[in-house]
């Protein structure tokens, strides 16, 4: 199975789209020196275009195809109604600079989503602007920096990050001009408290902590960690990538986090899109709220004309300055309501992107939260933890489980099989593909040898979990009896294992015409 490159379907003069004729007089074009000579884009018919992309789509595996237990990615089912909601023309055909009064619906949705996220996390303020988790992290570290500097404290230059952290944490730290210091994990998979104490001091701006961490474990000393960091004058940043274990279970702000990002594309069911768009809203406590990026949406109570629904202020203006408007008349003509507007937080670090964030993604997350409600969200987190522990309890009999305790929404096995020493985690993953499953996350976190990081999510049924566990058990058998099956895997895919070394050594990053 292979599909030609779209340029190979091209023939000069073809176009898959009909456009209107020019209905105004032509104007003189700019001088030729400002114009381009050629434009090498494909020229294809609509039917060939559609077949091309449908054929490509069939070479992809998505959550709608099967279980996608990719650790730390929360590949839960993406409800279809969310897609319809985000495509309502009253949401898609809205320009971000339209007058405030013509976008009250968008602003209301954003305001309510900010409120929902505050309620779930315990934070006092939320900015929806950050585009993804990594951008949320950069935002958070820049906020820490702004906070310390606003207090005249310029000596803090270090961010502490556990060795189990996502790679984005150290990268975000460097981008913000801070230096990172790595903390060791202890034998139970917690942050090593002694190592933390050894590194705390007045040069520490704060700590970035993913909790549950990337081993899927809730740190047993969390309250002690947040206390120690605060005592040293540092701030706690929460990487919310694993918030799917915590909805209705605990509020990060109550646990001592000062700032945290949410991944709407993980916890709140918005699809990953083959690598985005995501959304990484950031929440903060009162002390840090003013530093959030923006604009964010604020609401103020005001009067609305009961008949037209317009803001009374505007109606009154239009009617002119007339005598005799008193409160009594307003009471009969008006109802109270909320007016929404955009506002930059007082001491904002500035904007981290254009406009207000990924509105289309927000609509999907909003729809999800409204359909589940508080109880449903809690049930989702509970079931995510149930599913992970169920799989862990079966699979730890077959694969080494380095941190053997009750996990949260994910767990990490070692991809090693006794009696099959030549087998690596990658071989196991690739063989899973032949069984119809997407592989777990491989080789991460770095503190586990041959890591297989498994996050089933709450939307997989027991039947699917059983089939997945059976596949991994059978693969362990195959590894001992016929390891070649694993080395050759996958065999049922459009392509076999790809030569990544060749790709990197001699990069071919675009298609070029032969000759």
């Amino acid at each position: 199975m292979s599909e030609p490159i779209i340029y190979e379907l091209s023939s000069p003069g073809r176009c898959a789209v009909s456009l209107p004729d020019l209905d105004v007089p032509e104007s003189e074009l700019p001088p030729a020196s400002l114009l381009r000579e050629d434009l090498d884009l494909p020229e294809v018919a609509e039917v060939d275009l559609i077949r091309h992309y449908v054929n490509l789509s069939r070479m992809n595996y998505g959550v709608d195809v099967g279980m996608y237990p990719l650790g730390s990615c929360t590949m839960k089912y993406n409800p279809k109604v969310n897609e319809d909601a985000a495509r309502l023309p009253g949401f898609t055909a809205i320009h971000p600079y339209q007058p405030e009064k013509s976008v009250q619906g968008c602003l209301q949705l954003m305001y309510e989503l900010q409120e929902f996220l505050k309620k779930l996390s315990g934070f006092d303020a939320v900015s929806l602007q950050p585009a993804a988790g990594a951008q949320g992290e950069l935002t958070g570290v820049l906020m820490m920096r702004a906070y310390h500097q606003a207090r005249g404290d310029f000596q803090r230059t270090v961010i502490l990050i556990p060795d189990s952290a996502h790679g984005t944490n150290p990268a975000s730290t460097t981008m913000s001009g801070y230096e990172m210091v790595e903390l060791k994990s202890d034998r139970r998979g917690n942050v090593d408290l002694e190592d933390l104490k050894a590194h705390l001091g007045n040069n520490v701006a704060g700590m970035m902590l993913t909790n549950p961490n990337t081993l899927g474990l809730f740190d047993e000393n969390l309250l002690e960690i947040t206390r120690l960091v605060h005592e040293a004058g540092g701030l706690m940043y929460g990487d919310g990538a694993n918030f799917n274990a915590l909805m209705g279970v605990a509020k990060p702000a109550e646990l001592g986090f000062d700032i945290m990002h949410f991944n709407l594309h993980k916890t709140f069911s918005t699809p990953h899109g083959g690598g985005g768009p995501g959304a990484g809203p950031v929440g903060a406590t009162k002390a840090l709220a003013d530093f959030l990026p923006g604009p964010i949406v604020v609401a103020e109570e005001c009067l609305f004309d009961t008949v037209t629904g317009e803001r009374w202020e505007d109606v009154k203006d239009a009617l002119g300055e007339e005598e005799g408007w008193d409160e009594e008349i307003e009471e009969t003509l008006c109802r109270k309501g909320l007016w929404y507007r955009l506002e930059m937080p007082a001491r904002s670090i500035g904007r981290v992107k254009s406009f207000y964030g990924h509105f289309g993604v927000m609509v999907k997350a909003y729809a999800y939260i409204r359909m589940l409600g508080a109880e449903g969200l809690k049930e989702a987190s509970l079931a995510a933890v149930l599913n992970a522990n169920y799989l862990q309890s079966i699979l730890k009999k077959v694969y080494p489980l380095p941190y053997d305790r009750i996990c949260m929404h994910e767990f990490v096995l070692e991809g090693r099989i006794e009696g099959a020493e030549g087998i690596r985690a990658l071989d196991i993953s690739k063989r899973l593909i032949d069984y119809g499953f997407h592989p777990p996350t491989n080789y991460f976190p770095l503190i586990v040898r041959e890591a297989l990081m498994i996050e089933p999510t709450e939307t997989e049924s027991k039947r699917t979990l059983d089939a997945f566990a059976q596949a991994l058990i059978r693969i362990a058998q195959e590894a001992r009896e016929n390891p070649q099956l694993l080395h050759d895997a996958p065999t049922k895919t459009p392509v076999g294992r790809l030569d990544e070394v060749r790709a990197a050594r001699n990069p071919v990053l675009r298609w070029q015409r032969q000759g």
Binding site: L41, S57, M59, V63, P170, M175, E254, M371, T493, W511
Partner: protein, 447 residues
């Protein structure tokens, strides 16, 4: 609705397998004082109620299917062919993760490879990455790459004042901790000559936008030579639709071409999600941020695609990565690729020319009105500046309330010297009748 498929019996079996009595027993490590807090959220809705509520909320907005739009300024109302939405609605595309497992991700990978190819063709550059969050962050990443190319030895960035103001703000936020000095955008009087003079041996890059934020097409020939004489990089931010007719950044020797890709098949959606495109000369490929897809072969000798040069990226290089970017705008980039392939060579050129001629027609008609002034002297693409006889906010309110027209961008909001100046945008979506209606409305409002 929770989308959790378990029955009560299944839950019990699972708990028994784990060896606990009840599901709450799995949460012993969560500090008891904070465990299972009360969360106050509105009552859950059924799917039917949800859609009714959202439809009502969305109808509180004035959408552009019900108003003529002359607003641009970085987000544009362009035609999106039906094929785009049909392709990106294939759930094999939209429910997939980043293609870390290439054998089951060839669809995503090949479509990004094709996207990279088309962005290179459009911009005239050698290499394109798989996308950034938007035009603003693509610009910030271009600045960071320029600093990295200079190995941290150059800390000055020269930025044109007619770059989108929000992009300039974003660059400032991103570089807050990098000890960078940004000059050039203090005053609108800093023209290309003045900016070129600011480039020196401390400069990492010069950034200009073309067409600029005021819609003008700039003649950038020769500027690269000045920048390169100081061994700095030349970064150009451009409107991809304009590249249907205008000379691309590669044609005047830019080192990095970036821009907002929303116009390529993505709806306005109140500001996002969009995509930033990012392309550069091949000698800088190892310093780029973001994902790159490369061609290779599999064990059977078939052509296939993989994410490549990942040693630049955060998941491998951690604190030494070129950027922290992980998730980008995969599905928006797919939409852009489908758009470019559907329109193709002739289609994109036609869209660009429709915008150009309609904008010029509108500008000429408005220039004839009393009390309005249009700068027609310099070449422009689809946007132009109109000096109005009253505050733009006031004018826009009347346009919307009395004529159902979304007016232009209030330049006074971002340039103190430009109070009462409006940036109008005309695209292929605006019919001759809409343009006439706008002109008449402007005339009546000023009368």
């Amino acid at each position: 609705m929770t989308y959790v498929p378990h029955t009560e019996a299944e839950r019990k079996e699972m708990l028994a397998q784990i060896g606990v009595q009840q599901i709450e027993d799995l949460f012993q490590t969560v500090p008891e004082a904070y465990r299972f807090p009360h969360i106050e959220l509105p009552k859950p809705l059924s799917e039917l109620e949800l859609m009714a509520e959202l439809r009502e909320m969305s109808e509180e907005n004035t959408d552009l299917q019900h108003a003529a739009c002359f607003l641009g300024a970085g987000a544009y109302y362009h035609f999106v062919p039906s094929v785009v939405n049909h392709v990106i609605s294939r759930s094999e595309f939209y429910t997939a993760y980043t293609p870390y497992q290439p054998e089951v991700s060839q669809g995503t990978l090949q479509s990004i490879f094709e996207y990279q190819t088309m962005i290179c063709a459009l911009t005239g550059m050698d290499v394109s990455n798989a996308s950034h969050y938007d035009g603003a962050t693509a610009m910030a990443e271009a600045v960071i790459m320029s600093l990295s190319v200079a190995r941290g030895r150059r800390k000055k960035v020269v930025m044109s004042p007619t770059i989108h103001p929000e992009y300039r703000e974003t660059v400032r936020t991103y570089t807050r901790g990098m000890g960078v000095t940004i000059v050039g955008d203090e005053s609108l009087s800093n023209d290309l000559g003045a900016l070129a003079n600011m480039v020196d041996d401390e400069t990492a890059c010069l950034i200009v936008q073309n067409p600029d934020f005021l819609g003008r097409i700039l003649d950038l020939k020769g500027l690269a030579d000045i920048v390169h004489a100081h061994r700095a990089l030349f970064v150009v931010c451009c409107d991809p639709i304009s590249l249907g007719m205008l000379r691309p950044p590669g044609g005047y020797d830019a080192d990095i071409a970036i821009g907002e890709g929303q116009s390529l098949g993505n709806p306005l959606s109140f500001g996002g999600p969009y995509l930033g495109f990012f392309a550069c000369k091949k000698e800088y490929v190892h310093r780029t941020a973001g994902r790159l897809v490369g061609q290779t072969v599999d064990v059977r000798g078939n052509i296939g695609y993989v994410l490549t040069l990942s040693t630049r990226e955060q998941h491998i290089r951690r604190e030494r990565a070129t950027s922290n970017i992980c998730t980008n705008q995969g599905l928006n980039a797919l939409a852009a690729a489908v758009y470019l392939a559907a329109l193709g060579k002739c289609g994109l050129s036609k869209v660009a020319r429709l915008c150009y001629h309609k904008a010029h027609h509108a500008a000429r008609l408005i220039a004839r009105l009393d009390r309005y002034e249009v700068r027609l002297a310099e070449p422009f693409f689809k946007e132009f500046v109109v000096r109005c006889p009253m505050p733009v906010e006031e004018l826009n309110a009347t346009l919307l309330d009395d004529y159902g027209i979304i007016g232009g961008f209030d330049l006074g909001r971002v340039y103190p010297d430009m109070a009462n100046h409006m940036l109008l945008c005309v695209t292929e979506m605006n019919t001759a009748q809409e343009i006439e209606a706008l002109v008449e409305a402007l005339e009546e409002i000023a009368a």
